[in-house]
């Protein structure tokens, strides 16, 4: 579980780059138990306003968490908070790039918090997910 030793204002997070495939969506459905047909039933999804299958929002968010884990390690895994908005669906064939930065560090007497912003966009530049995350900094990375 690697982490940065010192966190600074403006510090870049990521990027994490991942290709979405129908096979990966199927694997995610099997792992999570979320078989909503909009994700896994191509003929059903084609008849909806979405026009085809879409990835689970939580799959994109898993990549965000991977980026945060790389930057903050255990401080993120046990103490992290996030707020995310799913703006556009991620579709099979999309290459997602997840990146972010430390927006500001709030320093208190005993504790500091890294306030981060993140985004996920596809190869066309469409914003798929945006959000904020907060990490309570430990002595390792304060």
């Amino acid at each position: 579980m690697e982490m940065e030793k010192e966190v600074k204002d403006g510090q870049a997070l990521g990027p994490v780059v991942r290709l979405i495939t129908q096979e990966k969506i199927k694997l995610y459905a099997e792992a999570s138990g979320d078989f909503n047909p909009i994700h896994v039933d191509e003929s059903f999804a084609a008849r909806t306003p979405l026009g085809g299958t879409i990835a689970h929002g939580m799959l994109s968010l898993a990549y965000v968490s991977e980026m945060m884990t790389s930057a903050f390690g255990r401080a993120w895994l046990a103490g992290g908070k996030l707020r995310a908005k799913f703006k556009e669906p991620a579709r099979p064939g999309d290459t997602l790039t997840i990146s972010g930065n430390v927006d500001c560090i709030e320093k208190g007497d005993d504790v500091s918090y890294a306030n981060c912003v993140f985004g996920c966009h596809n190869q066309k530049g469409d914003i798929i997910v945006t959000g904020e995350a907060v990490v309570k900094l430990t002595d390792d990375n304060k």
Binding site: A31, G33, T48
Partner: protein, 131 residues
């Protein structure tokens, strides 16, 4: 447990779904990590727990006929790192219901507890139901 599945119309703020239990076994974690291109690090990634909770939510929410459920937003707080093999219980309740033109939205609160009652995760999910 309710005698029959609740309908969307019957969902009201404060409604609690029956808790859903998941065993976060090694095969489950391994399958999850494969799905997200991750590397097994010997603990349960918090988002793997959330994945179970979201699946429980999507199974719980009665979607009106002809409607698709879209995950619109998510808030999460990770409280404790969970070890592989832990059994967790997901408690899901209706926080808010919104009807806006042709869009219905339901905001669900979720709390996840490890066996023994320790809260390991909490959050809120907004599910959009365009008609």
């Amino acid at each position: 447990m309710p005698d029959k599945p609740v309908t969307y119309e019957e969902l009201t703020p404060g409604y609690k779904f029956p808790p859903a239990t998941y065993e976060l076994s090694a095969p489950f974690v391994s399958k999850y990590m494969q799905a997200v291109d991750g590397v097994d690090a010997g603990f349960v990634p918090p988002l793997a727990i959330t994945a179970c909770a979201i699946a429980a939510m999507t199974k719980s929410v009665p979607v009106p006929p002809g409607t698709i459920a879209i995950h619109a937003s998510q808030e999460l707080e990770f409280l404790k790192l969970v070890s592989v093999g832990t059994t967790v219980e997901c408690h899901i309740g209706v926080a808010q219901k919104i009807a806006r033109g042709k869009m219905n939205m339901v905001i669900l609160g979720v709390e996840v507890f490890a066996k023994g009652g320790e809260k390991v995760q909490s959050g809120r999910a907004t599910i959009a139901l365009p008609t």
